[in-house]
């Protein structure tokens, strides 16, 4: 076995806010080998690679380069040591040509000498890109090649690719794989391939390291493993014990029967048909999704983030354009403005609470009526807001959703994350909507607040609301949902019930295996 190019030993990373991202990880990169790094959101993949590429210092542990301990203070240091990384979000200047971007990355002038050496490199590696077109006019796959060329022009021995296929078409993916194989065989480069897609791990890697919650849970040779085994390692076999009553007991009707009953007896509250939503970076983020949402059920959408969930939710909620059909109680609502949807009974708990959910400099009271400022309850004569009513409303919210706030006149930014979220949830649910779209409703909250929000969702469900729950937390989706859909690259790989999937299957669906 060849000597490893780079070795990470007992790496621990604790972020400033106390989050433990890595709990003593060992990791090796060997020459002429493609090493897969597999894990869910928050498993620590990105943190680990940021440390190897000089973007973050480890809290403890060390890096050995060819057996010698090194400290990397910046990406430049890492490149000097022959370690290059291609980030998921490209570090490219959009209106620069490929040549200019490479020049910027290498610190060389964009002259004929650089052009000649890049052309030679393109010849050797087979990675062709037009050098004189602004990269914003290139296809995403070509932009990725520019990033790779930028790194390779520095003669790296270690190449790290973070979710490189998430933006590629199948053909482009195939081209990338061919290139990687050549790079490994002909140049002896050590390659780290980060992904959550099982099929790709099996296809391209030689060895796989699986991370879960900051720990290495397995390291296997690719040819000796299977998708099932990897999926089990990735998502874990055990359920978190939270001491909650099982969902089934709360309504006394078995989930399965309720679902079947709902479908047969009632009209769906929300029908989505063949919805297509464009992505910001070009192409489609949502590629023709259809589903029905019934009163009295929670439909969970599980999946690794960035598979089109955000775009799906924003299109349904009137914040983004989409094609297809979305019907609320039989009425077409696609393209209606958010406030209109709100009046029709669709509530939206937004994924990004600082972008859409709250106006941080506004008071708790002012935030409590955002979107309802013109409802008859709060709007008096002469365009005056009825502050008495507003305050009464805040008092109700604070009581009903046990929001801890210094006062109704305190700015929203003075509340903790959990209480900010309770304020949003309370505001959105207080007008008795028929359909609730909850996007990542517990993200970033402490356990108590997250539990509280989950209880509210169940309560709403039991009160007959139709709830669409989008969450990257698989446990949360499986625990709360009556039905669950798995989203992967803009489509559903499966719609089923939590009872019908074990975690292994769930991992397969999230990794792109069709159900």
């Amino acid at each position: 076995m060849p000597e490893p190019l780079l070795k990470a030993e007992r790496i621990v990373k604790v972020y400033l806010d106390g989050t433990v991202a890595l709990r003593g990880v060992d990791f090796e990169i060997r020459p002429g080998e493609i090493q897969g790094l597999l894990g869910e959101n928050g498993a620590g993949k990105t943190t680990l690679t940021k440390m190897i590429s000089g973007l973050l210092p480890p809290t403890s542990g060390r890096l050995l380069l060819g057996g010698v301990p090194v400290r990397l203070h910046s990406p430049k240091d890492a490149l000097t040591c022959g370690i290059g990384m291609v980030h998921q979000h490209f570090a490219l200047v959009a209106n620069f040509t490929a040549l200019e971007n490479i020049a910027l990355g290498t610190g060389r002038p964009a002259d004929q000498a650089l052009r000649a050496s890049i052309e030679e490199l393109m010849e050797r590696t087979g990675l062709g890109v037009p050098l004189d077109t602004p990269v914003e006019n290139l296809a995403v796959g070509e932009r990725q090649r520019v990033e790779i060329l930028k790194v390779l022009s520095r003669a790296v021995r270690v190449l790290i690719l973070d979710e490189p296929t998430s933006v590629l078409t199948p053909v482009e993916t195939e081209e990338l794989f061919n290139f990687l194989r050549r790079l490994k065989e002909e140049e002896g480069v050590g390659i780290v391939f980060i992904t959550h897609k099982l099929r790709e791990v099996l296809e391209i890697t030689d060895r796989v390291t699986v991370l879960r919650r900051g720990e290495v849970v397995g390291e296997v040779m690719t040819r000796e493993t299977s998708a099932k085994e990897l999926a089990r390692m990735m998502v874990g076999a055990e359920f978190r014990a939270r001491g909650r009553r099982p969902v089934e007991l709360m309504t006394e009707i078995p989930v399965e029967e309720r679902r079947v009953g709902a479908e047969r007896a009632r009209e769906p509250a929300l029908v989505v048909e063949d919805l297509h939503v464009p992505a910001d970076s070009g192409g489609e983020a949502v590629k023709g999704i259809s589903f029905e949402l019934y009163p009295g059920e929670i439909l969970g959408i599980a999946g690794v983030e960035g598979n089109g969930q955000t775009e799906l939710v924003e299109a349904i909620c009137g914040l983004r354009e989409g094609k297809g059909s979305v019907r609320l109680r039989g009425r077409e609502i696609l393209g209606l403005p958010p406030l209109e949807l709100y009046r029709l009974g669709l509530a939206h708990i937004p994924e990004d609470r600082w972008k859409y959910g709250l106006i941080l400099s506004f008071t708790v009271a002012e935030n409590a009526i955002l979107g309802r400022q013109r409802s008859p309850r709060f709007l008096g004569r002469l365009a005056m807001l009825k502050w008495g009513e507003v305050f009464a409303h805040v008092r109700e919210l604070i009581e009903r959703f046990s929001i801890q706030a210094p006062g109704r006149e305190a700015p929203a930014k003075s509340l903790s994350g959990g209480n900010q979220q309770k304020l949003i949830v309370g505001r959105e649910l207080s007008q008795e909507p028929e359909v609730v779209i909850a996007a990542q409703p517990t993200r970033g909250l402490d356990i108590g607040a997250a539990e509280y929000i989950r209880d509210i969702l169940l309560e709403m469900r039991d009160a007959g609301k139709a709830i669409l729950l989008v969450s990257a937390d698989l446990d949360e989706v499986l625990e709360l949902s009556d039905r669950v859909a798995f989203m992967y690259v803009g489509t559903f790989t499966a719609i089923t019930t939590p009872a019908e999937v074990d975690r292994e299957t769930a991992g397969l669906y999230m990794g792109g295996m069709k159900g």
Binding site: L92, V93, N95, L104, R108, P109
Partner: protein, 299 residues
């Protein structure tokens, strides 16, 4: 229209073009680096005044130097406040304009020439004599400068850095470019060119200093930057268009017959109306740097 008229209009236009083209070309560099300076109007006024004082003290070479230096110092302040201390660029610009308005009016009154400060003929920048009239040497500088800036931005490594920090400071930072320093130097350079433009107005073109001599040219230069789509060479075209309408106004107002038919006040409005129309026409087709006006903070 006779040939004489043509030459006279051309020369008037060229002279009126200079401050706008120089200021706009400099501001292109600043905006490409991500800083938006609405204090150019104030810089023009300030350096017109200090440039005149410099010329009176040590002849036109010193005058030009003092003008450029004044612009550079103001630009340095603007860059410090905005590149390093992440201040509000619009408010900083307003502050510069108010300060200039106060400082120049104060200085003019302190010198005992509150309404009109004449720059003596012998310290003015000598014009190049041609068969059809005098032409300021700065005109040639203004004709060359946009090409030089074009070359700098597109052919040098420093120019690459300037464009990178305005478009994607994160990517530049990752590549080891000192984002704040590049922004500071770019905006200082732009302000220094505005300083040169101001000195040109007082010691070459108009030969005088008044409180209102900037007359919105700093803002017209901003509009020219928009018109040019941040391409330096097009600031020549933009500057010439506004220079033409500016001088057309002066010219028309002196033609017998026209003077009576159209009040001079309406003729004087033309450059501003043209500016507005042009900006309205090109807006939406212009691609501004993505990080223009946005302070850069790591993480």
């Amino acid at each position: 229209m006779t040939l004489d008229h043509f030459w006279s209009i051309l020369f008037l236009s060229l002279h009126a073009m200079v401050p706008i083209t120089l200021t706009a070309a400099g501001e292109v560099v600043g905006e490409r680096a991500g800083l938006f300076n609405i204090g150019l109007e104030g810089i023009l006024l300030l350096s017109a005044f200090t440039g005149a004082l410099g010329a009176e003290a040590g002849g036109w070479p010193l005058g030009l130097l003092v003008g450029i230096g004044t612009g550079a110092v103001v630009g340095l302040f603007f860059g410090l406040i905005n590149a390093y201390w992440k201040g509000n660029q619009l408010i900083t610009g307003v502050g510069i304009n108010l300060f200039a308005l106060g400082f120049v009016a104060f200085g003019l009154r302190a010198l005992g020439t509150p309404a009109f400060h004449d720059v003596p003929r012998d310290v003015r920048l000598p014009a190049i004599q041609t068969p059809v009239g005098g032409l300021s040497p700065i005109v040639f500088l203004a004709l060359v400068m946009p090409f030089a800036i074009h070359w700098f931005l597109n052919r040098t490594r420093a120019g690459l850095w300037v464009r990178a920090v305005g478009e994607n400071p994160e990517a530049a930072d990752v590549a080891g470019v000192p984002v704040e320093l590049v922004r500071l130097l770019a905006t200082t350079f732009g302000a220094a060119l505005a300083g040169l433009a101001g000195a040109y107005m007082s010691i070459s073109w108009m030969g005088a200093v008044t409180k209102e001599m900037a007359a919105g040219r700093g803002f017209i230069a901003l509009a020219t930057v928009v018109f040019s789509g941040l391409r330096p060479i097009l600031t020549l075209a933009g500057g010439f268009i506004f220079g033409f309408f500016d001088s057309l106004a002066t010219w028309i107002a002196n033609i017998p017959g026209v003077k009576e038919a159209i009040p001079w006040q309406f003729v004087s409005m033309i450059p501003y109306i043209v500016t507005l129309l042009v900006v309205t026409g090109v807006i939406g087709r212009v691609r501004f740097p993505k990080a223009l006006g946005v302070p850069y903070r790591r993480e």
